[in-house]
Symmetry: D2
Subunit: 279 residues, 4 copies
Amino acid sequence: MLLACPDRPGIVAAVTERLLARGWNILSLEQHVEGKKWFFMRVLAEASDPEADRVGAELLALGERLDGTVRLHDPQQRMRIGLLVTREPACAVDLLVRGRLGQLPGVIPVVVSNRPELAWLGETFDVGFHHIPDDDRSEHERRTLELLELSGVELVVLARYMKVLSADFLRHYPNAVINIHHSFLPSFKGAHPYQQAWERGVKVIGATAHYATVDLDEGPIISQDVAPVTHQHSAVMMADSGRDIERRVLAQAVLAHLEHRIIIHERRTIVFHPDGLDR
Amino acid sequence: MLLACPDRPGIVAAVTERLLARGWNILSLEQHVEGKKWFFMRVLAEASDPEADRVGAELLALGERLDGTVRLHDPQQRMRIGLLVTREPACAVDLLVRGRLGQLPGVIPVVVSNRPELAWLGETFDVGFHHIPDDDRSEHERRTLELLELSGVELVVLARYMKVLSADFLRHYPNAVINIHHSFLPSFKGAHPYQQAWERGVKVIGATAHYATVDLDEGPIISQDVAPVTHQHSAVMMADSGRDIERRVLAQAVLAHLEHRIIIHERRTIVFHPDGLDR
Amino acid sequence: MLLACPDRPGIVAAVTERLLARGWNILSLEQHVEGKKWFFMRVLAEASDPEADRVGAELLALGERLDGTVRLHDPQQRMRIGLLVTREPACAVDLLVRGRLGQLPGVIPVVVSNRPELAWLGETFDVGFHHIPDDDRSEHERRTLELLELSGVELVVLARYMKVLSADFLRHYPNAVINIHHSFLPSFKGAHPYQQAWERGVKVIGATAHYATVDLDEGPIISQDVAPVTHQHSAVMMADSGRDIERRVLAQAVLAHLEHRIIIHERRTIVFHPDGLDR
Amino acid sequence: MLLACPDRPGIVAAVTERLLARGWNILSLEQHVEGKKWFFMRVLAEASDPEADRVGAELLALGERLDGTVRLHDPQQRMRIGLLVTREPACAVDLLVRGRLGQLPGVIPVVVSNRPELAWLGETFDVGFHHIPDDDRSEHERRTLELLELSGVELVVLARYMKVLSADFLRHYPNAVINIHHSFLPSFKGAHPYQQAWERGVKVIGATAHYATVDLDEGPIISQDVAPVTHQHSAVMMADSGRDIERRVLAQAVLAHLEHRIIIHERRTIVFHPDGLDR
């Protein structure tokens, strides 16, 4: 359960009392108050009681009474992920490897690329690979969207997908498109961030995973990480080091999304901690 | 409020219901369940009601009913800190500077050292400096303890204090003596850890703040941090880099203790997050 | 010795042969070639021979023949540092502490501030503190410059000095004014970077030490570092965490400058490694 | 060229003069002096002259005159790597992925495991997979060694290979067996390091890549890295986080070995920086 609402006394008591009354045991609870104005909470609970399901409607109603929103998820249900990739396959490979090794609570049924030479991704990891040419940009997007929906994709991951998605595309996947940008945003937006970083002479490079919005590189940030560089790093070496940061940052963001640990509030994200339960 | 007890359903509901009933508003709540067996919680709340104080006795009683322990603290009350230091003043200076700049929710009334040449610490930071010779070890400890108690010290910080404290001393300050060890424990216990680290050829060095126990360097760890080193670092350079890690790690641990964010459970610590309230 | 020149075969051989011939023993040598076009080198050497001084003129002449520049420094000579600070004293205090603890190969004879309430810095650390009001900005700058020159200051450190220096001031201290900016440049230039960072919802904050130039926040970067933040960090908490990054990054940059380990090339810096000699 | 010898004046001059005389252009040169007693250097150079090859014998002779050792390598030659893995495939997969993506200056012709269920590694990455049972430990080792030699393997990587190699095996691959240990050595040697780390309550976990020697977990360390953990991490979660550190640390070590950037000196390693040349 994810809850976001204006802050007021008694919210935790109201939610926990309800869960208790319906026979739910709380496994993990994390809350966050922002400036005494907004309240956010994530609760993971398990039920033994056959009547336990009735709590769902009650919590949704509670959310309404609190002028907020409640989202309920079943952690057993594995989300379906679609990967979009253009030239650089390292991030996509990393997610496919994690899927193969059982480290992702999700499945990747489909990979889409404008590059036919990436077809090996499909063969190697035994997923559906689709080459969709991008000579006609809107046709490319239309066919991609159709394919994703056909595959029942619920989360779209732009794993180094160097194209801007239209507002229409994003409307089909509200808050469900994650992009990896290969710089430490808001530094070096746009194209060739490593070259930009080299020219500026920075001593640390980074990567940013964020929800995609119509304003490119302006969406809510989910995770960021960095690595030190020196004058000895050319732009090419930065890109090499950067690849390891990118894949780590993207995997973190995707994992948080799959585990329903993210609430988007205006332009920022609340990313709750992993709940510490071994599965 | 800090609570530790065996895990069972309904704990959060019981606590939050009690606070609500007595007119307390929860500012921050963090809980942790360990292996479905132990439950730990920290709640920061503020009251408007004059009757609100009665909740204290109720929460203590609740703690007993849960076969656990409840500790209640008033965050307004500033703890009194005694610093013990032998040869290396950098960590002590750092805490004194943080006190001077208003970054510590505590006061440092007294610094004790076996080195008269550190008297400048007292003058520079306007605190009581006491030189207590250590030719007679037990006499040194007896006088130190007397002085700390006389100064109303509640937290003893061993800011690079290269002596072993007796079980008797520690009994006077249960779970209230923090030591900084200049290695990444459990690596390089005992004397000269940087020299040991150099000889082993490690590529990362670190520091560890922990509660002092009779088993030297074996107490519950509060915070640790590290920095990369290369073959270019001699043992002396490691010690130089290390000083910055030590003071950072020690300050983190002291801050967590002063903000009542630590529960010790067997040999481990639960260190709750800073509560995110601007003061 | 610091050398920057266009790359060509035989440079290392020419320099080392010259040093050998004049009885110098190389303690440390580091070179860097940028894109096969530019060559940079730092050599630390010691002489036993009384005639050894003659090598200085020879190396300067060699630099000219290579169409480059050679700078010679005596590491025994301790540089004189002037600190400029406005409201936030933490960075200035850190440098003063390092000076007091013997961790800086330089001396700090003078601290200048527009804030009379920072006079305690002078008393505490026994350095000349000068309050220079800034009602008249150009008068403030003129008097500051006069004072720095009178004190024989060779390196000016803007230790959280929230004012723009004129081109005229900078001309008096070419490549010798180091500024600390409390963000990870080029992100969040200008005022209130922590507030900007909070609004953008970044997950990592940072600090940047750079040479001051007339283009504010655009000078060559010397050092940068970062720390992770979460949604739990308010802008005030970011500023608190940030203070520790700032002082670390500034100290690194100042140390590199004092040890003559920096070459500025166009808009970037070559920062050679510490030479690994215990002093 | 890698050189290790007792320190004395004139070494750099002697080497660079020789290279210059034979028409070699130095692309990168890094040296290190340890305690004024030992001298280490790595030089990367390219030749245009057809006579340039004669420098090889001259440098080897120079090494002898300096009472040291000289090793010469051709960076164009790609080393052959054999992977040994038991239960945990993540590190092996990471190296195979890097090989597939062209990020390793080496080839992996062979993977050996005692687990038949890892056969998918061979199919997925199109390399020879060999299941060698380990019921008879010495027979397992004998067959493994035979296979590695047959495949022309020059570097053996123990990518989570939970077995002790005999002195005899190691004699066949002197200084050419790299192991990844899933703790921050010398902490938590031996079995189940994450469980040990959890029990000790550390706040940072790590991984260590080192050359394998007969003393288990005591060989010269090549690279180490760490990640923070909190009380919220169970031993299983530590193992999950740890996997990302392990693969990063192992890849760093393997890369340094493949690029001939490592000199082993007694129990420590000199790991020269990447030479900054784009390939």
